[in-house]
Symmetry: C2
Subunit: 212 residues, 2 copies
DNA sequence: CACTTTGGATTGTTGAACAATACGGATCAG
DNA sequence: CTGATCCGTATTGTTCAACAATCCAAAGTG
């Protein structure tokens, strides 16, 4: 793996972990010093992450961490419904990825008991990544990972993200139960309900955070 | 627009037009001379196009035009069905993008009469881009454009791509007719049938081309 | 107050240089 | 002849320094 690729992974993780808040500009000289790479290498990394939607590039004004608008949130959830629901509707409960879903869900429930809010968020995302993995489609997985990363940016700007993650662990459990017990069609409907609810919650929290 | 962005558009077009065939390596020194940019600028362009899937980057071996495998073709069509069918199923025939579809279709029929095979391919793609435009989703549009570009790479390697485009103009017409006359659900089913047929044809031609 | 100017800071791009790696061919043992 | 090893060359990965182009904010101007 090349230096620039590794930096992309690292920077991506740092951003998702909240070290660089959405909207903040990423100075080329500052970060090239911080990560001890040249400006050119850093700029290659920027190009890749910008193409993924995590960074926003404005010519002659540099890159900044994307700060999704409400319209973006709506669009992200539209993508999620399109990809996740369609995938589940076309999958069988015998698919190996179901195990990934179950594992992630179990982890989420453990974190819920321990009140590890950050862990819940990650486990929740792993659960939905498991759903998309049902498709066996590298491209759909990539698409999902990109919008999921953007969505995490949104959570970074909200006041109490745990209030948004915690109640939905039970919903995810229901999605999995219905999917395995009643089949893909019923599971997909349950999943769609989940996503619509989640979208509503996030939009509400978004409005609240930007009004304060 | 920055120099590197413009080069990305240009190179993308050149590739789609078949100037650089799938699988061919793109030497940094050669292309930086040809396009009269520095290696560093060219490498930024490479990063962007690689992230879009049009170029394939292998560390220390440079970038080459992606040469989609049969598995890739299957995956591309899976993405198309997911995005296109779901979009149409959730749209109304009154949407302004329907006009784009109609225009593209008319253009395709004109090119068909004139036996302009290249034009048919482009118009066909514009028609399906119109379908995705029904979603009003920038991200779904971007996803589609990426997989559509990859699919064009596949056509470049086939022997007589016109045989693959021409018969499907009528199918597209039927999709539009059914969508406007019978509604989204019926249109989506017709569209799915189209995509499955198209996939089958492409896979067949792919096998034929790689056996010869 | 609105408008222009100007200077500093940041980005965009270049060219050269060197390090790191991959590839192909030469060499050599068996 | 076969296979393995070694080496030289070409290409990519990365750095650095420099300059051009652009933006921004602060200063001045009417």
């Amino acid at each position: 793996m090349t230096h620039s690729d590794a930096l992309a992974d690292l920077l991506r993780q740092r951003i998702i972990d909240g070290e660089f808040m959405p909207g903040s500009r990423l100075s080329e000289s500052a970060l090239s010093n911080q990560f001890e790479v040249s400006r050119n290498t850093l700029r290659e990394t920027y190009r890749a992450l910008a193409e993924q939607g995590l960074l926003t590039h404005v010519p002659h004004r540099g890159v900044s961490v994307s700060a999704p608008s409400m319209a973006d949130v709506v669009d992200i959830y539209r993508c999620r419904r399109t990809v996740e629901c369609t995938t589940m509707r076309g999958s069988r409960p015998e698919h190996p990825a179901v195990q990934r879903m179950a594992d992630a869900l179990h982890l989420a429930e453990t974190h819920l008991a321990a009140e590890d809010w950050l862990g819940i968020g990650s486990a929740n995302m792993a659960f939905h990544e498991g759903i998309v993995a049902l498709s066996d489609s590298p491209r759909l997985m990539r698409m999902f990972r990109n919008v999921a990363a953007e969505l995490r940016l949104v959570f970074l700007t909200l006041d109490d993200p745990h209030a948004l993650h915690a109640p939905f662990v039970a919903s995810n459990r229901r999605v999995l139960t219905v999917f395995t017990a009643e089949g893909p069609e019923a599971g997909a409907l349950e999943l769609e309900r989940y996503l619509l609810n989640s979208e509503r919650s996030v939009l509400g929290a978004y409005t609240r955070a930007n009004r304060a």
